[in-house]
């Protein structure tokens, strides 16, 4: 009698453990990283182009074909026009309901001004040209091809959109562990230490705000691309050539034309992140 009860308890216990564990295991094997077959299935699903940008969905590991959105920032042209960078930053703040905290420790920054030596520590020299040392540089998320933040995220709240190479955030899923902030070599990520709403000066009705306790960053204006518009910062620099935006994998795109002609640099190439943002200095 006692033995039977014991056996029953053992089987019951094992079944409970199996029952609890199974969904996690199924989920695990369903992630693209482990089940390569999944990518092919997703490809068909993603093959709906966003207006005006012709994003073609789902390419697997062999990346060069397909769309990889990128940006070239020409610091010479940016600094030629006074106020241009400020206008670009302001348009980003307005488009994305970015709060402006009075205390620098709480700051939220998507695209911002910083000294050249900070943005490009690996390219700084003791006797840099005056135009380099006197003018600010621009920093924003690099939308890396090998993003360390995505590697670090424990919930896939931040991920690389394989359809266009944008490193995106899902604010609904972020648990606010800030591992991505420690992982990003560019300081491109900000955390909502407080509820941002009281610090948003003006609302854009077509875009949400964020909530306290999540990490946020530049999204390459995915919401504007979908409507066939340029990113906000690109639009506010239109006509100056200060920022060029487009598909890095398309040899005929405007960004590639610029990159083919001019010498460009990237931030911290030694970090192996393969940024999608290029700079001409």
């Amino acid at each position: 009698m006692d033995k039977q009860r014991r056996k029953f308890l053992k089987i019951a216990g094992a079944s409970v453990v199996a029952g609890i564990g199974a969904p996690a295991i199924i989920k695990l094997t369903a992630t693209p990283a482990l089940a390569s077959g999944h990518d092919a299935a997703a490809a068909g699903h993603e093959a709906i182009p966003a207006a005006g940008h012709g994003e073609q969905g789902g390419h697997g590991e062999a990346a060069p074909q397909g769309v990889r959105l990128g940006m070239v920032i020409d610091l010479r042209k940016m600094n030629d026009t006074p106020g241009l960078l400020d206008a670009a930053i302001a348009s980003c703040i307005a488009a994305h309901n970015i709060p402006e905290f009075p205390n620098s420790k709480d700051e939220i920054k998507w695209i911002w001004k910083a000294p050249f030596s900070g943005v490009f520590p690996e390219h700084s020299s003791r006797h840099a040209a005056k135009k380099i040392t006197d003018n600010p540089a621009v920093a924003l998320c690099n939308h890396c091809d090998e993003p360390p933040c995505v590697r670090a995220c424990p919930t896939q709240a931040t991920f690389r959109n394989n359809a266009n190479g944008v490193v995106a955030m899902d604010y609904h899923r972020c648990i606010g562990c800030r591992f991505c902030m420690a992982a990003c070599p560019y300081g491109a990520r900000s955390f909502n230490w407080y509820d941002p709403r009281p610090y948003i000066k003006k609302y854009n009705k077509d875009f949400p705000s964020r909530m306290k306790g999540v990490v946020e960053k530049c999204n390459f204006c995915s919401e504007r691309l979908a409507l066939g518009q340029e990113p906000a910062c690109v639009e506010s620099c239109r006509g100056t050539g200060a920022i060029t935006f487009g598909d890095l994998n398309d040899p005929n795109s405007e960004v590639r034309q610029v990159l083919d002609k001019e010498f460009s640099i990237q931030r911290k190439p030694s970090a192996g992140t393969k940024p999608s943002v290029f700079y001409i200095v």
Partner: protein
Amino acid sequence: MIEKTLKGKPAYWIWLAFLGMFMAVGAACYIRQYNIGLGLTGMSRDVSWGLYISQFTFLVGVAAGGVMLVLPYYVHNYKEFGRITILGEFLAIGAIVMCLLFIMADLGQPMRALNVVLHPSPNSMLFYDAIVLNGYLFLNILCGWVILTAEKKQVKPPKWIYFFVYLSIPFAVSIHTVTAMLYCGLPGRHFWLSAIIAPRFLASAFAAGPALILIACLVLKRVANFDAGRKAMNKLITIIIYAALLNMFFVGLEFFVAYYSNMPGHIEALQYMFFGMEHHGVMYNNLVPFMWAFVVLAFGAIALLATPAARKNDFVLGIACLMLFFAFWLDKGVGFVLAGFVPNPLGEIVEYIPTMNEIGITLGVWATGFMVVTLLYKIAIGVEHEVES
């Protein structure tokens, strides 16, 4: 066996009430933080991890340190540790409870914590950390409880439990290795980007954990009439000395690599920690006193522990262990995590000073851990006394 926690001398209850007070304050502080946001802490955009994560890192080590009792006893059949192995296992439980609480306190959206399970991400080290930490917690509860129950009944523990006991040994190593990997795999943080982080973590863990157990033994000897035995204590001291020396050796290696190679990225954080760093004409040196206190206390403690005359005296021995525990807390529970964020990725220096609310939560979690350990030790000692009488 739980009933043993319900009977005790007045000192026992006063101690529990004392801890309970800190827990209550911590809970109140946490409710504030939950409602208002992590802005109530001293953390910032640039120093995005603070006391919570540094305490977590240190306490993972304390938990792993318990294996320094399990390994000699079960693998090398070192009988002298028979009485105190359970103390190591129960300390690990308390330490991991603190680790998990610190993680929860640090989350911006704690209600979504289960997303780690619902959206498992094998590319993230936090995924593995969640697995090994919970696994180690489970193993210690299981092994500790089953073996203590067997002791109470004065029978041999069931054979199957030894599988889990042996499994807990690689798990102990893994919890601190994976915790080190949270840091040492990040491309932009030069101070953390070092292959010696995991061995260094383990070395300091194998000193700090046993040091705390030794302190516990000395306290229990006075308040609970529990004698761990001089031979066991001397063995523990030997383990602590070697592990502590290894940690200091590894710290020295970091210094050599940084200053001999003269690579700015490697020097900066060490410079900031130990000597202070000038930036835009301002001297930033918040951590300097802490780091030198770490060095002085660590070598002082090692010297005391290595002096036969000094360690024969229970009081001096206790002080030496306390010094060592505090030294390695300064090293890993303060310096290591905070200095990793200096300078920030854009070369700026932002210093971190914890707020009162944050310290309140931190003390509350520590008090909770001590409460768990106290209750578990009360059970373990109660059972041992019962068997002996």
